[in-house]
């Protein structure tokens, strides 16, 4: 324990950088994506005008989407490294305890219980958000790739799926924006001004309120230790290579056979 009593290290530089990239990409995707979902709205036209046209808006959206794809692949690799190779615990995974914590918190909030639930490193509110992010990014990347290469996907799935992907891409995006504006803004900006995702530290008072179980473990000097073995590292290597290969093959499949629209126009 090297931290000062009033500030405790909560997030590493890796978390901070990941979050920052996500923040920029997410905001950019919303700004370039929403005008495409609501093209008739005056604000949509204003945003597209400021960006400088539909084509640039779309190019930016594709660029930021590609960053999202890289982040998704990176997140998978990271998780494999920490939880397959190093065999560290997975505190983000929801458990039955989280459901209990939720109901206990509601009862406490309504004045039924006298004590609030005592939560660990991640509260149920954080887990909901993380799960939504994982599921949402996966869905957005998948549907986004369908929309980016519709003709390619048309050789594999009925065309209707492409349009369903468009509906899902827009619906999921709206759900994500509204969730961020309500759930995320409330829990990290309004309920408590939580800067830990930017500077890495959370003050003790907030730690004690939101993560008392983890705080006690820290106080006792219990920090999870990696448990690497040749088997676990090999498993990681195999899985990581598999993920990278899958990514590369998917990318090659999507981009092969693509014909530039200008080639088509010149050919006529």
């Amino acid at each position: 324990m090297t931290e000062t009593p009033e500030r405790l290290r909560r997030f590493s530089r890796r978390h901070i950088v990941n979050h920052l990239i996500m923040l920029i990409a997410f905001t950019g995707l919303i700004l370039t994506g929403m005008p495409q979902k609501f093209p008739n709205q005056p604000w949509a036209k204003g945003i597209v005008l400021i960006i400088g046209g539909v084509q640039r808006t779309r190019a930016l959206h594709h660029f930021l989407g590609t960053i999202m794809v890289f982040q998704l692949v990176w997140a998978v690799l990271e998780n494999l490294w920490f939880h397959v190779a190093k065999r560290l615990p997975m505190p983000m995974v929801p458990r039955l305890q989280d459901v209990k914590d939720f109901f206990r918190q509601v009862r406490f909030n309504l004045g039924v219980d006298r004590e609030p639930p005592r939560m660990n490193r991640y509260t149920f509110a954080e887990k909901v958000e993380y799960l939504a992010l994982v599921w949402g990014t996966g869905l957005m990347v998948l549907t986004g790739l369908i929309l980016l290469f519709p003709v390619r996907w048309g050789t594999l799935v009925p065309g209707e799926v492409i349009l369903a992907a468009k509906a899902a891409h827009g619906g999921e995006a709206l759900l994500a924006v509204l969730s961020i504006l309500t759930w995320h803004v409330y829990f990290v900006h309004l309920r408590h001004w939580n800067k830990s995702m930017f500077n890495g530290y959370l003050d003790e008072e907030a730690y004690a309120e939101e993560h008392p179980v983890e705080l006690e473990a820290i106080r006792r000097g219990e920090t999870p230790e990696p448990d690497m073995s040749p088997v676990s590292v090999t498993a990681f290597a195999v899985l990581a290579v598999g993920v990278l290969l899958l990514t590369a093959v998917t990318w090659l499949w999507l981009t092969s056979g693509r014909i530039n629209i200008l080639t088509v126009m010149n050919g006529h």
Partner: protein, 404 residues
């Protein structure tokens, strides 16, 4: 060349020289007009004096006629005050046939006499009377619009492709006013025999755009007009405009074309007569192509739009009924259209477009249910979030006694 000209001037002047030289003594120059006025003791305004200088223009077809040929009353000197109206229209004497035609045209005398609302010289000029076929005549292709525009406010013609071709490109074969409306036999658009009556427009345009007009007359629009006199279908000028003829190859024409088709196809009153859905426009805008076109049209209307618009799939002059053909035929044709931009498209790809259907449990159910899912899940999730937040904020205020 010079000899020929000399010969012409000599022959013209020798035959009637005596007649005209007498007239030109007073009307030959501004000074002569002023001198004559002074001699006769009458006052003429500077404008009037200028008008009274009458010299026949060069290459005048009537150059051989003496002044008295048209102004017989001018023999009396000093001239009677109502000299110009005294003898009526002098052209009638020789051009009886033209006057007959004019008397049945939109420019006829309401009386009915020969007091036409527009007189021969208003278009042909009086003393500047070149042959009609002379490229410098008042009614030559490059000049005729100027004549008509004096009364008819159709200046947009000059900005249209025809007007620009004639005026800027010097393309005398391009359409001028008379190409479409006729000259002496102009009839109002409301008259059945008019060249610009709705059902005749395609024939008038077809004088130059023959093959296009023929294709149009076989289209669903053209056939309805020429065979059944249908007042709802568009003819050439409804899409291309009559006077401001827009260049259909311009990016603006393309990017604004969905709205053009939408003028009728989004109009419930017209479409209900034919059992055609007005959802075609909104379903197009809701689609990827339409979304792009919509944003394009609004923000960069003059940029070339590479997204499909109505006529890329339906055709334009040859636009046909889509319900008339069998499903297989429609699919075959549609795939061909898709392939023009998506060359690797397959039959499976066709259902990536809803055929203007609004997704429902019957048509495109998958899309319908995905939309329904989000229509339920979004308000439910956000509603739950807000409710939880409200309770949590209220509880924290109670427990901590401070604002959250």
């Amino acid at each position: 060349m010079a000899t020929g000209l000399l010969l012409f001037v000599w022959s013209a002047s020798s035959a009637f020289a005596a007649d005209n030289s007498a007239c030109l003594e007073c009307h030959g120059s501004l000074q002569q007009v002023k001198d004559a006025a002074e001699m006769l003791g009458v006052t003429v305004s500077p404008d009037e004096a200028e008008r009274l200088v009458v010299v026949m223009g060069p290459n005048c077809i009537h150059g051989g006629m003496g002044c008295l040929g048209c102004h017989p009353a001018a023999e009396e000197v000093p001239h009677p005050a109502n000299l110009l109206t005294l003898t009526g229209n002098p052209c009638i004497t020789c051009h009886e046939d033209v006057v007959q035609v004019l008397s049945h045209s939109a420019h006829r005398d309401p009386a009915p006499g020969t007091d036409f609302p527009v007189q021969c010289w208003d278009c042909h000029g009086a003393h500047v009377c070149r042959k009609v076929s002379d490229p410098q005549s008042a009614v030559a292709p490059a000049n005729v619009a100027q004549r008509c525009l004096q009364c008819h406010d159709k200046r947009s013609y000059l900005a249209g492709v025809h007007g620009q071709a004639v005026q800027l490109a010097g393309l005398d074969v391009a359409a001028t006013c008379v190409s479409c409306h006729g000259a002496h036999d102009i009839l109002a658009q409301s008259q059945a025999g008019s060249r610009v009556a709705r059902r005749n427009v395609s024939f008038t345009c077809g004088k130059c755009h023959g093959r296009v007009a023929q294709v149009y007359r076989h289209s669903v629009h053209g056939a309805a007009l020429t065979e059944n006199d249908n007042p709802d279908v568009p003819t050439c000028v409804d899409c291309h405009e009559a006077h401001a003829t827009r260049d259909p190859r311009s990016p603006l024409f393309r990017s604004s074309s969905p709205e053009l088709c939408g003028k009728c196809h989004a109009n419930k009153a017209i479409m209900s007569k034919y059992g055609i859905t007005t959802a075609v426009f909104e379903t197009y805008v809701a689609d990827f192509h339409g979304t792009t076109a919509e944003l394009f049209q609004e923000l960069t209307p003059n940029q070339p739009l590479n997204q499909a618009v109505c006529y890329d799939c339906h055709g334009f002059h040859d636009v046909a009924k889509v319900t008339g053909e069998g499903k297989a035929e429609i699919e075959k044709n549609l795939l061909q259209r898709c392939k023009r931009c998506h060359p690797t498209a397959t039959t499976r790809f066709l259902s990536a477009w809803t055929d203007h259907y609004i997704p429902s449990p019957k048509h495109y159910a998958l899309i319908y249910y995905v939309r329904l899912f989000y229509r339920v899940v979004i308000p439910a999730t956000i509603g739950f979030f807000l409710l939880y937040i409200a309770i949590d904020a209220w509880a924290r205020r109670r427990h901590h006694g401070r604002k959250v």
